[in-house]
Symmetry: C2
Subunit: 226 residues, 2 copies
């Protein structure tokens, strides 16, 4: 029997590929968070479809209402517009949800502790990304230390970030090789029905598929490459 | 004008004294979490009364439904009985809520980032406590590093734990000197109306007041000292 691992699955392409990689040597327990983001319903639907694809029965969907209440991000506050175009280097974009990944890791850790899982997977991407500080490798190393010190001595949980150093194009390639159903993933920050194709997340995705030489199965209002 | 600090206020005696200490040099922004614990209603009422006592207008009450959903603790799962008597040394008690304080710190950090606060206070107690791993000083040092790496470069948030090394009796003495309204605090893990006096949290509190030579203004079903 494979050991259990908690996998944070947003429903985006990075977490879908991360889940497929996790499933190679672990039995994944799928964790999804709804935090009042604009495209929550669509992301949740993708989460369920990815769980079905991998035959995952252990699923936990948690609400994190604090993030919506606190705001400070274009994803959770409709008064802040979603930025269009490619991310700028060395600027934290308005889509950064303050310290969001710490909330996810905290929930993943609590669940891992109760399940007796010793690994938690998260699909953070740093090298080729939007520049969110809570996607840096050093953040995960520090958080892993906080987990080791802040949980039961026998819990022994490590954080695995298998795509953190990959380019988005490489993530598409790996996903294609693993048969990831990219039609069951969602990246657009703005719309739930048809992806806009112009927000920073759509742009990163479209560029990634183009660079990988793969077809993105999603429909877009506009397909704008960098 | 004093700088803003986010203060985690559960409504217990340790967080009440922490809040009074925080208010000496900061303008406190009070954060309270409801996570499906048995005595949530009473703790929330104490939070509001403590906020009134210190004249705090910035208040945020967040729900953390993940902790109840995940369970694994006698505080959030009624199928697990609350332990009676004094805590045992070197045993993590069943009242430990898996990695709970990381959820609190994450919410406090997100809020601090949006408010522009550079400090967050939490009333964790280690030396003379129940032995929760997420109350250790080393956990806070590691988490502070995760905050520094996982937030905007300009955020610069430190964690302040002013009572972590104090005995419970010393916390009572400091609180008395600061005029903390202990009648507006709650420690019992078990009941909402009249404190049981026998659970580990009541025992720690009763022992603390006795050792400090102060009268505890709360009513108890039984007053059992160690």
């Amino acid at each position: 029997m494979k050991p259990i691992a908690v996998v944070c699955v947003s429903g985006g392409m990075d977490s879908a590929v991360t889940a497929a990689l996790a499933a190679q040597e672990h039995e994944p327990a799928f964790l999804h968070a709804s935090y009042g983001q604009r495209t929550a319903a669509r992301e949740r639907a993708c989460f369920e479809r990815l769980a079905e694809w991998l035959g995952v029965s252990r699923r936990l969907v948690v609400e994190i209402p604090a993030l919506k209440a606190i705001g400070g991000s274009s994803l959770t506050d409709v008064a802040i517009p979603v930025r269009q175009g490619s991310p700028e280097r060395d600027v934290v974009p308005t889509s950064y949800v303050p310290f969001r990944n710490a909330h996810l890791l905290s929930a993943a850790t609590s669940w891992a502790e109760v399940l007796g899982a010793h690994a938690l997977f998260i699909g953070a991407v740093w090298e080729d990304s939007s520049g969110y500080p809570d996607c840096r490798p050093e953040f995960y190393a520090a958080f892993e230390r906080a987990i080791r010190l802040g949980t039961r001595p026998e819990s022994d949980i490590r954080i695995v970030t298998p795509v953190i150093g990959l380019s988005k194009a490489e993530i598409v390639r790996r996903g294609s090789a693993l048969g990831v159903p990219f039609e069951s993933t969602w990246s657009c920050y703005q719309h739930d029905e048809i992806a806009c194709g112009t927000c920073e997340s759509c742009r990163l995705r479209l560029d990634a598929f183009a660079a990988a030489g793969c077809a993105d199965p999603l429909r877009y209002r506009t397909r704008r490459h960098s």
